[in-house]
């Protein structure tokens, strides 16, 4: 039986140690980033370049996925609500679910997969080809030059992307509401905005600020710690995406509990 196998506990121990190591490394990188952010040179051009790569270039995929999520959410809710003749509440459920939970989390997961993986691969390649060492010997702090712009861009762009995702998801639900369930357009809009309160929107957006930092820091940490050439870059990229997904869901659970107990 696997519970009697000493290797089983060895594997668990190794995973726990890996996690503690990652947590320590990411925390240290976060601290160094915070210290270096308000120092010169500001590197505005690098921040804008990253913001474009992360924000503007992610818009199509985020829009597409959030539209489908809105449609799916409306259809799945309709399945229950039709039985209770309460279709009108679909608008409220779609709006609240999207702004409080699905919008922030789905957007964060898409950006982690798209941009987090890209950041790890880029920084990992720079590490194995000694470009990161070259930066240091040319008098530039690699954390200031590479990590700070990415963390700032992700922290700013993820909430903005999430706002778009919320709006497009609600539009997806609206289309189902008026064309499939024959709810009047004005009634659907009324139900959406009557139910939504600022708190719903804000709690969703506060989470994304932390998700943005998490994605950037884990991706940069994995990239800067690559060992072993192309294979190392591949492994680090996979690890970066997996760890970011786990941390986003764990952080989401933490924030949801926090808001539930202290803000409700």
């Amino acid at each position: 039986m696997f519970l009697l196998n000493p290797n089983f506990y060895g594997v668990i121990g190794r995973k726990v140690l890996d996690f503690v190591w990652l947590f320590g490394g990411v925390s240290k990188l976060g601290f160094q980033t915070a210290v270096l952010t308000p120092t010169r040179p500001w590197g505005a051009a690098r921040i804008f370049e990253q913001a474009k790569k992360i924000g503007v270039d992610s818009m199509p995929i985020v829009s597409l996925v959030s539209f489908f999520i809105g449609v799916i959410l409306a259809l799945q809710t309709a399945y229950i609500m039709e039985k209770m003749s309460s279709e009108i509440y679909i608008a409220s459920i779609v709006a609240v679910s999207l702004t409080r939970e699905l919008g922030p989390v789905i957007t964060a997961l898409i950006v982690a997969g798209r941009c987090g993986a890209g950041i790890t691969a880029e920084l990992g390649t720079m590490t194995v080809t000694e470009q990161v060492d070259a930066l240091a010997t040319l008098g530039s702090n690699p954390i200031k030059y590479l990590v700070v712009p990415r963390v700032l861009s992700l922290t700013i762009m993820l909430p903005i992307l999430t706002l778009f995702a919320d709006a497009i998801g609600i539009f997806g639900g609206y289309l189902i509401g008026i064309y499939r369930l024959s709810i009047r357009s004005s009634l659907y809009m009324n139900m959406t905005f009557q139910t939504l309160v600022y708190k719903d929107l804000l709690t969703g957006l506060v989470k994304t600020i932390f998700f943005g930092m998490l994605i950037a820091l884990i991706a940069c940490y994995e990239g800067l710690n690559v060992r072993g050439g192309a294979e190392g870059v591949g492994k680090a990229t996979t690890r970066s995406v997996v760890n970011t997904f786990i941390m986003i869901i764990a952080a989401d659970c933490f924030f949801t509990a926090l808001f539930y107990f202290f803000l409700e």
Partner: protein
């Protein structure tokens, strides 16, 4: 006067004792070549001089300053006095050749675009390259990448240039051109240089003195002729490139595999 002094430097990397109480002095204006097998710690030695690595014990001094005690601006100033030419060039993929060469001028010295363009052109001309400022590093051959890396290293007119395997991976004619370039830069810019290599043709051509690194220590040092005619069996095996000898004794060699 010793420009670079490594005293009693030890470094363990991943459980392997790479440097073991190593001592190395490089005088001002001298070109010292460090030879040794791959993985013996030659590049690690260079990384200690620019503090990309810190020793477990021992001291590293450049121009009399303790490198390990430098912080912030003092460390940046040191970096500006040392140009390190990496083995693969380590050019920034996302920047053009011109931006790579003028990197320090634009990032740290606040130079105007006209001044940067002029210095980039001069530095590229010193390594024999013209009108390639707008190329991307991926458009260049291996030899050109090395020369651009050298142009980047000399753009701030450093007092010291460190070369990590400058002739590895290029054809013999390009390798000889790079050797000539190292000699020329030494004469024109009056720099102190350390060249890390296992290419003996290159070592004889550019060195004022050659030091051999073996098992974490400098085991022999002398002029190119002294090394060429050395009776040290380790040096002799290395410079003649013999598969059998004291360096490979006790190691699983290709020859043993064939037997």
């Amino acid at each position: 006067m010793a420009m670079i002094e490594l005293t009693d430097v030890s470094k363990n990397l991943g459980g392997k004792q790479v440097l073991d109480h190593m001592n190395l002095n490089v005088d001002e204006g001298e070109t010292k070549v460090i030879i040794g097998r791959s993985g013996v710690g030659k590049s690690v030695t260079l990384k200690h001089i620019v503090r990309l690595l810190e020793p477990d014990s021992g001291s590293v001094r450049v121009e009399g300053k303790d490198v390990l005690a430098l912080r912030g601006k003092a460390l940046s100033d040191l970096h500006r006095e040392i140009g390190l030419v990496f083995q693969g060039g380590a050019l920034f993929d996302s920047l053009t050749v011109g931006e790579n060469v003028g990197f320090v001028l634009s990032e740290h010295m606040g130079a105007g675009q006209a001044e940067i363009d002029k210095r980039v052109k001069e530095s590229l001309a010193l390594v024999g390259l013209y009108k390639i400022e707008n190329y991307m590093p991926s458009d260049l051959s291996g030899g050109m990448r090395k020369r651009v890396a050298l142009a980047r290293a000399i753009c701030t007119r450093p007092k010291i240039i460190l070369y990590d395997e400058p002739t590895t991976g290029v054809d013999p004619i390009t390798a000889d051109a790079i050797n000539l370039l190292i000699d020329e830069l030494h004469d024109k810019l009056k720099v102190t240089s350390i060249v890390v290599t296992h290419d003996m043709r290159s070592a004889y051509k550019v060195a004022d003195r050659i030091a051999m690194l073996y098992e974490g220590k400098i085991i022999a040092e002398g002029t190119p002729d002294e090394i060429r005619y050395s009776h040290n069996p380790y040096v002799h095996q290395f410079i003649t490139g013999a598969a059998q000898g004291p360096i490979t004794d006790g190691q699983s060699s290709i020859l043993k595999g064939i037997e």
